[in-house]
Amino acid sequence: MSSVPRMKGATKHIGISRKRTEDPLILMGKAKYVDDISLPGQVEVAFLRSSHAHADITRVNLAKAKAHPDCIKIVTAAEMDGGSVTYSDHQGNLQPVATPFFAGEKVRFVGEIIAAVVAPTRYIAEDIVDLIEVEYDPLPVIFDVEEAMKPGAELVHEEILGNVFFSNIFNKGDINKAFREADLIVRETINTGRTSAAPMETRGVIAHWEWDDTLTVWSSTQTPYPLRTNIARFLHFPEQNIRVIAPQVGGGFGQKAHLFPEEFILPWISKDIRKPVKWIEDRREHMLAAAQAKQQTLHIELAIKKDGTILGLKNKAIGDCGAYSMFPWGGIIEPAVGNTGLPGAFNFQNIQYESFAVLTNKMCTSAYRGVGWSAAVFAREMAVTKAALLLKIDIADIYYRNFIKKDEFPFLSATNQTYDSGDYHQVLDKCLEMSDYRKLKAQPRLLKNGRLRGIGISFFVEPTAWGSRVAEESGYRGITTHDSATVEMDPTGTVTVKSGQFGHGQGTKTTMAQVAAETLGVRFEDVRVLEGDTATGSYGMGTFASRSGVIGGGTVIRAATDVRNKLLKIAAHVMEANAADLIIDEGVVYVKGSPDRHMTVRELAHITYFDRFRRPNTDEVEPILSSKRHYDPPETYANGSHCVVIELDPQTGKIDITRIVAVEDCGVMINPQIVEGQMRGGIGQGIGMALLESLEYDKNGQLNNASFMDFLMPNACTLPDIDCAHIVTPSPVTDGGFKGCGEAAMLSVHCAFGNAVADALSVYGVLVPTSTPIGPQQVMNLIGSANEQR
């Protein structure tokens, strides 16, 4: 355990809903996203993308395109020497799948890049793309994962047999005994739909190579430092000469925590043609070629006693990973990571799971808020929902019966995740109370308006603080992930934090300033946070996976503590007091018990830098107020509960949401308003996943809804107000007692909807959804299946 000071009990800045420092520029329309940046002499890129899902390319004729008077350059696989990036985290039976920058002799999904055209403007570049002639020799399309795994199936990559590039198996406890002793076994096949994070800002890259062999890259990314390092690795460019800037980024949700081919192609072109180049993804490209997510087939089996005691769980998770394994997470992130989250809040210890990552001729699936877990917990919860209905026990009572108790932490879950803390009973109590759950459950489902009311509940445990240890407990043994921050006190006593985190909606400029102000004892207004620019930050992995509050907060606490201790040492010398007797409060240093003896931080900073007669001997105490610290936290797991109330129209299958309640325990909250923003935002996206969103590929691998016209997402009319509440159990293991909070609802709220639909349909029998999204068609099919049974 660390020896740095805890935040518990602190009140000046932590736990205060400060207005975000990010907001004024955004509100005035002056924040600069990648597309808002224009460099003198800049030219633009448009991509020719495959129109076939699986085909040999027999001929690419560039003659007409090159003859266009405004054509500056056309780049194909041959030009970039067949370059690729490879996911190669060595573990289990992982076979590396290289993701090429350009398709070479074969295309493997619709949207794969074949050529890049450079022209003075995007309009012209698009015209030139249309002049390129490509001849395809179509191959059979691999569409369905279970077909793909059959012997003799067509292969997406010749070297990957059975199209399975990763598989693992995990056993703990005595699963056979659990199933022998069960009073009820529920077996279900669950299909979770393929969706897209669909951030409002698409991807975009500007690359600018200059004659001193420096390269500046602006990218709409969540991970500026890893992008810098990997441009250096894969393009063999000196890393010290690369500067990556993630300017204002319009949402990421995990999708922009990958390194995409376009982020390598643009820098390569800029160096080659010695001009700044720009590419802004249009929405159709985004739907086709930005990371997709969530598609799995899961065969789940639940062993349960009559009284609701869960004895064990079996799961076979098959991820539909698309045509490549996206760098750096790889397609294993869906099935393998998902399985690690199967136990959730339950104390059972018998488990068996298998994970298969399978290649198909679609765009890759990879990280998106709640990745992997969304599918696995939906499978578990639909099985538990069915058990509850068959056993005639309220699902909330099954939760209570199987919860890990607050005095059992630290608790090692069935999948060996080390839960640090929590009070699940209290969280569920609060959620049930706020939503009037018991009262509503006792009322008839059929309403006067002819619709059926359904009440659904869910409970989640969320792995947060994605450092090396949580990554390992979530299925990534080989990944090292940690961060750093520099805290500097300026000569006038103000403070600059240089962070390895990078907020793109999370408000980390605000929350990291709150942590620094609290630790140092200075005013919030006197702290500025620099992030998103590798020239002014501090090495870090970026913001994703509910990690920034905990890891960023920890780095800032550690560095700010160093600076504070240094300042106090100098203050003790200047004020002729004992350092232990000094306190700092809002920029003023006092001697305890003698409120008259005080100096401002500003005066002390000035003395430190400029007054060699008053400060201590510089051989002993260097005249700088700066520290850079690293943090790779222990595992910490947040938890929470969602309750939803729906009205379901049995004539049409339409679902209206009438109430949503969310209760969450993310430990010590830095800024409650921002935490609630994350809670509600996750619920919004979770509703999309639960009820609306599905990327519809046909059997030829064509995406039929590659625009916002056809891809259905929640709008303001989809949702009611969302009631939030907090239970705070500080993490006993992390600096500050923080736990993460970003992904929460995506591990939970869709399960509450599945549960609510089953509750509404309970008037017909035991009918439980088996796929997401739960659209009107599925609801009508469920009702139809009940009628058939009669």
Binding site: M28, P199, M200, G252, G505, R680, G681, F708, N715, D721
Partner: protein, 164 residues
């Protein structure tokens, strides 16, 4: 063939020679460098590009610049006055009605137009009024709250203040 388009943008007269197919949003962003108006979907669903043309909220990705000839256009940059935020902008800040901020300018322009039509909307009317604006970060809750807050704080003349 080029055409000349003359209009008033944020109270300033502008006259530019353009290719006739230039979209209003490209004219605002690329010619006038008013980059607060965003493009999110290209197909008129997301509303990140909403501006006011003669006081009406329109999606500038779906209008040719030529169609705005002779009109008065207000963009997000025209909403604050001398560094003072418009009450709707203020309310978005105090209610945390934005996260990544990409949809925010279009959302605010829609909200200002909505409040001009109906200065005291109900929650349901606010939600209905935002149907053409997609936000992926907030779950809409705080956006709706911000607009309701603004409606109670907005003096009657502010509702008219958008220069149109």
């Amino acid at each position: 063939m080029s055409i000349t388009v003359s209009l008033q943008v944020n109270g300033r007269n502008v006259s530019e020679t353009l290719e006739p197919q230039t979209l209003l949003v490209d004219f605002l962003r690329n010619h006038l460098r008013l980059t607060g108006t965003h493009v999110g979907c290209d197909t008129s669903q997301c509303g990140a590009c909403v501006v006011h043309v003669d006081g009406l909220a329109v999606k500038s990705c779906t209008l040719l610049a030529a169609q705005a000839h002779g009109t008065q256009v207000t963009t997000i940059e025209g909403l604050e006055t001398e560094g003072r935020l418009h009450p709707v902008q203020e309310a978005f800040r105090s209610e945390h009605g934005l996260q990544c901020g990409f949809c925010t300018p279009g959302m605010i322009m829609s909200a200002v137009a909505l409040l001009r039509r109906n200065p005291t909307p109900t929650e349901a009317q606010v939600r209905e009024g935002l149907e053409g604006n997609i936000c992926r970060c907030t779950g809409y809750h705080n956006i709706v709250k911000a607009i309701l807050t603004a409606s109670t704080h907005m003096p009657a003349q502010s509702a008219q203040a958008s220069r149109s």
